[in-house]
Symmetry: C2
């Protein structure tokens, strides 16, 4: 069976065609311009294939509440031409097959729990640290979606004593994303992270913030695996610093090997690498096929 | 069908017999002394009835991982005689019927989502603010349990600028529980909360801390309803202060009526009052009956 997947990002749309085993046969990328232009290319690409269903992992904020009238739309976004755009509806009108819809990070979590670093578990948290910070989760085998989708990147953290940078979040100033996403690193230190590799102060501070957020997520969600992706996490020197900070902050309150001597197996890089999100989108397509029999062709 | 429920607390054990509609026919309370004495009374009480199954909502930390060898045991606790005690096993040996097991706050969340303030939803968060601070959640219709059960009371919050109290948590000093649970209020202000009703500074500070934690929970879990129970939350003047702080902290980042003009319907008191936990324990019993057919009599 052939499924389509869309990883709809603010910079680019990745489209893939693959099967239920996560095998990808074709993959293309389109820049995110206007909805008409970008979605036109997406539809043209998928029209070449006889797909059973399509799954979308979308940038946000977007409406993931299936009972809502705006389900499947981008909601508020600084990319004005996309504000309120009904991605799901556009695809349903074009293809008349089951379409699944969730956030990009939820899709990545689904990809990782099915075929990646959390394979065999029914629970994982996927966090991306890049231009922004976002996270998605699978818990008890289900995507975490409630009143809305999570917005974990905007949690509050205590400020590092040496940090005088005011923060970059237009809503909360110095929330996690405002202090620790890529643009904050660049603005605080005067150059991008990739040019700061040997400045240990940068990564000590970054790990201090990320570890605080991970501790929030551990105490609140208790995921069975934590996966850290995104551009900033290519700085592999962050991992041991994060391990040390998480252990120190939890202070042995939860007595589990995952949070002490086996922490490097608990907090890991994506098993699917760059393909976590698009693989998850294919799985969203497969799930849509199984749960929407009335739309099967 | 008759089910048994146990709300196993550090101070007292509440036992009830009821049906699948949450109706309670008999309810008794035993003080928590030694496991032998307390569990002896529990078993004697339930022996009077022809029960189909029993559900336990237990104080913790306890092991809720069904795949673990210590599933159904109290793990670390300052109540030394209960440390490692296998509540679940003791009940299974005594009754030979299906037994369900989770945390006390998970049981309360289950009670509220089934028959209480979150009835009709598939998602809610139940927080108790009393001697300690704990929370349980139902998400997409399932209890939130992962690597372990959540320990949401121990999240970090930013300190109030006027607060010089060092905090009371033996593990984290000034985590939420260390700053905002009943004993912290009493130690900081020199008398218990019930004698501080008219001191607005007390409740402004308390609301500041609780609101920060609620914002963490909203951003990370996105529950469809938040229910605040426990002794401290009997101070009803806290609710409007919490509403104001949550709205201010989120700063309209998530544009939903539940987080703006309808917040007083989103963050509420328990619909079942003091019976949330024991009602949830009965439901845990019913669920155990349905999922353990091999143990049905």
């Amino acid at each position: 069976m052939l499924y389509g997947g869309i990883e709809a990002g603010g910079t680019k749309f990745v489209c893939a065609v693959g099967n239920e085993n996560g095998q990808i046969f074709e993959r293309v990328t389109f820049p995110t311009t206007t909805p008409e232009e970008t979605m036109g290319k997406v539809i043209e690409f998928f029209n070449q294939f006889n797909l059973m269903a399509i799954g979308v992992g979308s940038f946000g904020p977007c409406d993931v509440n299936i009972e809502s009238v705006s389900y499947g739309r981008i909601t508020s976004t600084p990319k004005l031409s996309w504000k309120g755009y009904p991605i799901l509806k556009k695809l349903e009108e074009s293809f008349n097959i089951p379409i699944g819809f969730s956030t990009d990070v939820n899709a990545a979590a689904l990809g990782e729990v099915t075929f990646g670093a959390a394979k065999g578990l029914n629970s994982c948290l996927y966090i991306t640290v890049g231009t922004g910070i976002g996270a998605g989760a699978v818990l008890e085998g289900k995507l975490l979606q409630g009143l809305s989708h999570p917005e974990m990147g905007h949690v509050t953290v205590r400020r590092h004593l040496n940090d005088t940078y005011p923060g970059k979040c237009p809503y909360h100033n110095d929330c996690l994303e405002g202090l620790a996403a890529g643009p904050a690193i660049e603005e605080r230190w005067g150059k991008p992270g990739v040019e700061l590799v040997n400045n240990s102060e940068v990564w000590e501070m970054e790990a201090y913030y990320l570890a605080q957020a991970l501790v929030h997520y551990i105490l609140i969600l208790s995921p069975k695996k934590i996966i850290l992706g995104g551009g900033v996490m290519k700085q592999k020197q962050l991992f041991p610093l994060i391990y040390r900070n998480v252990k120190k902050m939890l202070n042995k309150y939860i007595e589990l090997p995952e949070l002490s001597n086996e922490i490097e197996k608990y907090i890991v890089s994506p098993g699917l690498g760059e393909l976590a999100g698009i693989t998850g989108a294919l799985i969203l397509g497969k799930e849509a096929y199984e749960t929407q029999p009335e739309k099967q062709k």
